[in-house]
Symmetry: C2
Subunit: 256 residues, 2 copies
DNA sequence: ATTTATTGAGTCAATATGACACAATAGTAA
DNA sequence: TTACTATTGTGTCATATTGACTCAATAAAT
């Protein structure tokens, strides 16, 4: 069954997809006060890769990215941002797909559409960790969250792609609802601070971070406190969506 | 002669270029205290477009962008930054190329490689206005600088592409040598301020801008004054390249 | 009951910012 | 030569922001 899907795709994919263009999604989630990336493990078991795919002949590249995201996470309406196109001439998806082709005992040659050079367009997605049910596909064994700072060996330039995603996210931190999309409805100030620290790549002072975030007036403090951890129980907050998005228009921390 | 080049390109371009991918350069220059964009006018005379081109089968997309830039400006080693990929399914280069094909009286069909949908990758370039000698090509009549705020009618989504270039440039303003690449060796503080005002899209206070720029310690003040304009002659400055690039690493205006 | 790590709140000096003011001056007009 | 004008270099000052730091409160663990 799975084999049939893959066969069909390799033999007929060129009829419905654009040649030479692929999409790779860097899917970020937040758990245990750490940023995670959703990765696939190939059947070889030794290499991990970003969940990617191709673009339909009449499909917007943004739609393609959303479709691919949905396959992996089951989620609709997810924040998705294109950030860079990667176009080294060595970008050829040979390893994975060649094995697949060989295992099919099909005839194929170097001209096979899936063995050509691909320019890949990177998107980063911000998802709420708890809502995701990772979903492997026909050429992958595993689909799992990986710590950003403990990434396994990755296919091709996928390591570079993740780094670039982080860099671009850093630039847009004050203009996009990054905390909003990564966190659940209710969260602690420390949760939010951890996200900022990871994206900015440096530690922030707790008190000052607190003061600054609250000064934007974009969060509502709940009566409830977080319970479960040791030590003093922190307040829970949620974003005031209306004020948050209003503030993002001109950029957090930027003056009118 | 020109006809032959174009013919050759349309008939054989698919052999040496990647299918379905193009490059469009937004080339910025600075003159008369205004930002300008270098545009091409098609033979139809009514539509302008960004200077673009295709990617060689073994060429890095960055190299392709640099090659295309060189053809237009004659310049090497120019600051060039990829900023976005545009992939609506309606992106078909029909108008211009169809006319060219028709005028050749060659047989062609809807499957012609140049009439397929293209995903275009946008780069912005920052060039020193005075060093550029605009250079039209075989399918263009004119190649000229246009004011950013008085753009003529543009092909396809090229207007959107220019806007996006500006937006992305705004985000990177503190991390890229934007003034350095747009200005000549010596310039006035007002020149620099005009660039910032255009990119940020708002007026800045003269005195405060002055104070802030000088506080970075990245500019050397010359003994000479600018002469030519009426009124008090301003100082000339030049960037201290070493300090400038050092400061950009952590971002202008950002703390350590 | 005591310990412990963490939280909420606050202090305070140093720095940055925004909004102005004002004298100096290069070319222009008289 | 002189007055005029628009622009420049520099400075002021009240206010806002920042970074570094305290300290009492407190929830869970011992």
């Amino acid at each position: 069954m799975k084999r049939t899907l893959l066969e069909n795709f390799l033999l007929h994919g060129h009829e419905s997809n654009l040649p030479g263009i692929s999409i790779d999604n860097v899917i970020f989630g937040f758990h245990d006060n750490q940023l995670k990336v959703l990765l696939l493990q190939s059947q070889d078991k030794d290499v991990w890769m970003l969940p990617g795919g191709f673009v339909g002949k009449r499909e917007h590249i943004d739609e393609a990215a959303a479709r691919i995201l949905k396959v992996r996470t089951g989620l609709d309406d997810i924040f998705l941002q294109q950030f860079y196109a990667f176009g080294q001439p060595q970008r050829i998806k040979n390893k994975i797909l060649m094995k697949a082709l060989q295992s099919m005992n099909k005839k194929y040659d170097k001209e096979h559409w899936a063995l050509q050079r691909f320019v890949t367009i990177g998107y980063y997605a911000l998802v709420e960790f708890a809502k995701v049910n990772p979903h492997p596909d026909e050429i992958s064994l595993t689909c799992a969250w990986q710590d950003l700072d403990k990434l396994p060996e990755l296919l091709l330039d996928h390591h570079e792609i993740i780094q670039k995603a982080l860099e671009e996210m850093r630039l847009k931190l004050n203009y996009q609802p990054i905390g909003y999309n990564l966190l659940p409805e209710e969260f602690t100030m420390k949760n939010l601070q951890s996200i900022y620290e990871t994206i900015l790549g440096r530690k922030l002072d707790r008190g000052n971070f607190n003061r600054k975030m609250l000064s934007y007036g974009i969060m509502d403090r709940k009566e409830k406190h977080y319970s479960g951890g040791a030590h003093k129980a922190p307040y829970l907050y949620s974003f005031n969506k209306k004020k948050y998005f209003k503030a993002l228009e001109s950029g957090l921390g930027r003056d009118l």
